[in-house]
């Protein structure tokens, strides 16, 4: 028996901000879930199961928060499960939910991811003082910056490319009412003039720390037929993982990322991603990861990704817009960041992305990664149901 086609019929986000002091974690996830239900025209009783994801529990200090969120998410008496794959978790959570529908285990599933970074300190949560180990000698960016330098060395990319990405994503964010950073006075000069925190990464080229949640309602063909708004259809979805450190690991273009993209394209019958995909929402926590992922995801040949960025191809009006929502560089509730990529891809093909809509987008890629470039999750969504 073939898989059931999976449709995204509801999407909800909170307005992402540095700190939501006015709500509990339950109140935060509730907002996103209610908005997704409203978008789908459904009630709590229409939901068969809930799949939730977030980054490590240390990020809020609530052990297994899904236990206490069952009431807020209408999950009492229903199956509820938690997915955890570090920063990619929002993506893998959506895929677990999609698989439940595709396998006809459940008909309509609420999937949600969140982070309330203001309740803790993510950097602390990631750098516990493990005895006998050499202490980490750099902050969050110190992990990524050497890989960026390796990319620049490998490809000969000029220094200016990183600032172009940040300038683009922050301007895109101005068109997205849910984005955290809304810097109306941004200029390329300001991005370039920002201090180098972890040279070659500037302050202006790093992601913020956000409180936020994102929810989606996934359903089968019958559910899609009842949807008040056009659904997005899942044409392919895959996850891959690899160890954080191993001899031969390529941090610039991890094998697991290439394999994951290839699997998604195979499922979606994509042979030329650069031409066949209309919009990309990729997980870019530091600006240089845009050209790096353009290569890893097969949009450019090895060494050529930065040329797309430099030529404006990834701009909102370019022919391969990347992160029209403003991306992780503008909004980063860690656990939710991957699901926001998936949801924004779906909004594009539903024609419901508002001011940051790419005209005529019919196929879009959502991408998430996390850990030490350890987990990858991607999906490709289309405006039409998958063939056959």
């Amino acid at each position: 028996m073939s898989k059931e086609p999976v449709a995204v019929v509801g999407i909800g986000q909170t307005k992402h901000v540095a700190a939501r002091h006015d709500v509990s974690i339950a109140g935060l996830v509730r907002e996103a879930a209610v908005r997704a239900l409203e978008d789908a025209g459904l009630a709590w009783s229409d939901i068969d199961a809930v799949v939730i994801g977030k980054a490590p529990d240390f990020f809020e200090g609530v052990m297994m928060p899904e236990l206490y969120l069952a009431d807020a998410l209408g999950a009492v008496g229903k199956p509820m499960l938690r997915v955890h794959t570090a920063g990619s978790v929002g993506g893998s959570t959506a895929l677990v939910a999609a698989n439940l529908v595709a396998a006809r285990v459940h008909r309509t599933v609420l999937t949600l991811a969140f982070e309330k970074q203001s309740e803790s300190n993510a950097m602390w949560g990631l750098s516990l003082p493990v005895p006998f180990q050499q202490p980490l000698l750099a902050g969050a960016g110190g992990f990524f910056a050497p890989h960026v330098r390796a990319y620049m060395r490998r490809t000969g990319a000029p220094d200016a490319v990183g600032s172009l990405v940040a300038y683009k994503d922050r301007r895109n964010a101005l068109k997205n009412p849910y984005a955290h950073l809304h810097d109306h006075d941004i200029t390329l000069e300001k991005v370039r003039a920002a201090p180098m925190l972890w040279d070659p990464i500037r302050y202006s080229e790093t992601c913020p720390s956000s409180d936020g949640a994102c929810a989606m309602i996934l359903t089968d063909r019958e559910g899609a037929a009842r949807s008040p708004h056009p659904p997005a259809w899942v044409h392919g979805g895959a996850m891959r993982s690899e160890p954080t450190l191993f001899a031969g690991k390529d941090f610039v273009s991890p094998q697991a990322g290439k394999d994951c993209a290839a699997d998604v394209y195979r499922q979606a019958r994509i042979t030329d991603p650069r031409r066949e995909i209309d919009a990309v929402e990729m997980y870019v926590p530091f600006s240089w990861y845009e050209p790096m992922w353009l290569e890893n995801l097969g949009f450019a040949d090895e060494g050529e990704g930065w040329k797309l960025t430099e030529a404006g191809v990834t701009e909102l009006d370019g022919d391969l817009p990347v992160n029209p929502s403003g991306g992780v560089l503008s909004t980063n509730p860690i656990g939710a960041s991957g699901m926001i990529r998936f949801a924004e891809a779906a909004l594009q093909v539903r024609g419901r992305a508002g001011e940051h809509q790419i005209d005529g987008a019919t196929r879009a890629l959502g991408h998430a990664y996390g850990g030490g470039a350890q987990f990858f999750a991607m999906w490709l969504v289309g405006a039409e149901p998958p063939p056959g």
């Binding site: 509990s24 950097m123 006998f132 050499q134 000698l137 960016g141 972890w198 040279d199 001899a247």
Partner: protein, 315 residues
């Protein structure tokens, strides 16, 4: 094995908690010696209150005040109180259904011994002398033989002057960390300023530090291989922001260093050269300081730089 190391690992952090409207009313109420519950759509009074109805999933905000007296519904004796528990003498953990409530609240009961505690016994709140808007504003429960409180709880707006909207909840976890056989052997060699990795029997790659197994082949490693002491900077960044708990003057260079003979890079600080002159391919060696387990930093050896092709697979 006696040569395997272990040491305490304490993880503690003062998490901040935004309460939202219902928990804010509940905790502010405790500060004012008022216990609030919430009425669900089927009329049950939940204490402590929640924001969403467990049955209908609807938002519930119908707050009510219940009595400070109640009945023990079940209990467990705690003979040896731990750190930060409500009482420092032996006590009973109790679930107490306050008069007017439909559910029970977890807290401590001050009692002389387990023989003095029973399910069904009547108890009342002993309020803390200093109250801040926290569950510890209830110091504990104590036996009570007076009149029961009203079974019909009173409506309450949940409004108080100067409400508590956020709390700090310090959390602490005490672990004993054991680095295992391979890392213990690595650390023992470091004491003699030698760096010893392990070679995978399948792919022949040398892991430094060793973790006892090859992550790609999934087989145990045992063959010890001394690497270094010299190595090559494969990539790096210049750190311009002072990290918490790190007493290093910025800017400094944080580098990936492939020690000669190792098949993946480890991380270290580069000094003994101006930060803006560090480059990929720089040849370096460790610098040890008295009493430190790991090299303090790495410094240039003065050798010519390694050719990119000799280390590009390790970047």
């Amino acid at each position: 094995m006696s040569d395997v190391l272990s040491a305490p690992l304490v993880v503690e952090f003062p998490f901040t908690r935004s309460l939202g409207p219902v928990q804010s009313a509940f905790l502010t109420g405790l500060r004012e010696r008022t216990v609030l519950g919430v009425r669900t759509e089927d009329g049950t009074v939940l204490v402590p209150p929640v924001e969403y109805d467990p049955v209908t999933a609807n938002e519930i905000r119908d707050l009510v005040e219940v009595a400070p007296t109640g009945t023990v519904t079940t209990w467990a004796w705690n003979p040896s109180p731990g750190r930060d528990q409500p009482l420092d003498t032996p006590f009973a953990w109790v679930l107490v259904r306050l008069d007017g409530a439909g559910t029970a609240l977890l807290h401590a009961l001050d009692a002389p011994g387990p023989d003095a505690v029973r399910t069904g016994m009547r108890v009342r709140i002993r309020w803390a002398a200093t109250r801040t808007g926290a569950i510890a504003d209830i110091a504990c429960f104590e036996p009570h033989d007076g009149e029961p409180g009203a079974t019909e709880p009173a409506e309450h707006t949940g409004e108080f002057a100067d409400p508590v909207t956020g709390i700090v909840t310090p959390a602490r976890l005490d672990y004993v960390h054991t680095p295992g056989r391979a890392q213990s052997a690595y650390l023992a060699a470091l004491e003699g300023h030698r760096t010893v990795g392990e070679r995978c029997p399948a792919c022949r790659k040398v892991y430094v530090p060793p973790r006892g197994a090859c992550p790609t082949c999934g087989v145990a490693t045992a063959e010890q291989v001394e690497v270094g002491p010299r190595g090559t900077v494969t990539t790096f960044c210049i750190v311009n922001i002072k990290a918490k708990n790190l007493d290093i003057e910025v800017p400094y260079v944080y580098a990936h260093i492939a020690l000669d003979g190792a098949d993946l890079a480890l991380h270290g600080r580069i000094a003994g050269i101006p930060y803006d002159q560090v480059r990929m391919g720089l040849r370096v060696e460790p610098v040890w300081v008295e009493g430190a387990r790991h090299p303090d930093h790495y410094r240039p050896t003065g050798e010519p730089d390694a050719d990119y092709d000799t280390y590009k697979e390790l970047v």
